[in-house]
């Protein structure tokens, strides 16, 4: 039986943006160039981009994009803040349409690798904009455009 030979290691509890300032800079540049209306705020120790998106139908939505603790291993999560959207597929059963139980938007199937570690918050905001378009289409027609994982 082969046996483990331990190697030098180090384990951090630094926040992702403390451990990786170059990535934070990259995030700032990406969001500021594509979505200059967004502002960076801090909710406790978490960083959040907040801003407004306007759909083709002229509706304005304010969203909050939260970076997870282990970014970019895990993708950011987007919450609809104004208005607070809850897209019920079956309200009695508590089933939401393309939203998680805490209200975060379901932007992609985690298995399809839409988000990878090089994807920035700017990409995720763009996907959220597409979600809002699809949401409005669903409200109008009852059909959610595009591929659906659920």
């Amino acid at each position: 039986m082969q046996r483990t030979q331990l190697q030098p290691s180090r384990w951090h509890n630094q926040l992702w943006y403390q451990a990786n300032p170059a990535r934070l800079l990259m995030e700032r540049k990406a969001v500021e160039s594509r979505f200059p209306q967004f502002a960076l705020v801090r909710d406790g120790e978490q960083l959040v981009w907040m801003g407004k998106l306007t759909t083709n139908r002229g509706e304005v939505y304010e969203i909050a994009l939260y970076y997870p603790d282990d970014f970019p291993i895990s993708p950011p999560r987007v919450f609809p803040i104004v208005p607070t959207i809850t897209s019920w597929k079956n309200e009695a059963a508590g089933e939401l349409k393309h939203q998680y139980a805490d209200g975060a938007l379901c932007l992609y199937d985690p298995k399809d690798r839409t988000f990878n570690q090089n994807s920035t918050a700017a990409t995720v905001i763009a996907v959220a904009a597409a979600w809002l378009f699809a949401y409005e289409t669903w409200l109008d027609s009852g059909e959610w455009p595009g591929l659906e994982a659920d």
Partner: protein, 180 residues
Amino acid sequence: MAMPDHVYIARNDAYERIVAEALRVPEHETGGILVGRMFCTNSANVLVVAAASGPGKPAPAYADMYVPDTLARQRELEIWRAMFAPHRLDYVGEWHTHPAIHPRPSYGDTCQVNAIFADTAYQLPDGIFTPIVIVEHGSCRLHGFYYPRETRHPTAVECTVIDSAIEPLMRHLATLDEGK
């Protein structure tokens, strides 16, 4: 292989040692290795943690980083393997403390896990168990996380502390273990 369905932690040689070390230096980050074995039965994958170490006495202490003494831990790993020789135990993971506001593995922790997976010195065909220990108001809480090798993503796991001797459990699981 998928996640462990259950994680059992021996109270005397593992859990109590983790708690004692975490409470010894609550203002610094600390940790240690975990020694055990994954058993794959036809109904469940069961990870047994039979023993835990500290960081090793020469290890420096930091508030935001745990840098263990490698040689000291290797010695301890050998000792535990010898003590539990019939059960073929090995390194199954690493525990370390975090501040209470960060009860999950950090980005830096995931980078360290990926480095371990890439290193053939580590015999971790399935994944690695990396519980996070929080010390708050003088008491400890252990949050179990397991990184499957396939996903490299920390996933919460149920942990149970076993008060009785761990060896009868391991003997029983060994009879059910398939292919190992």
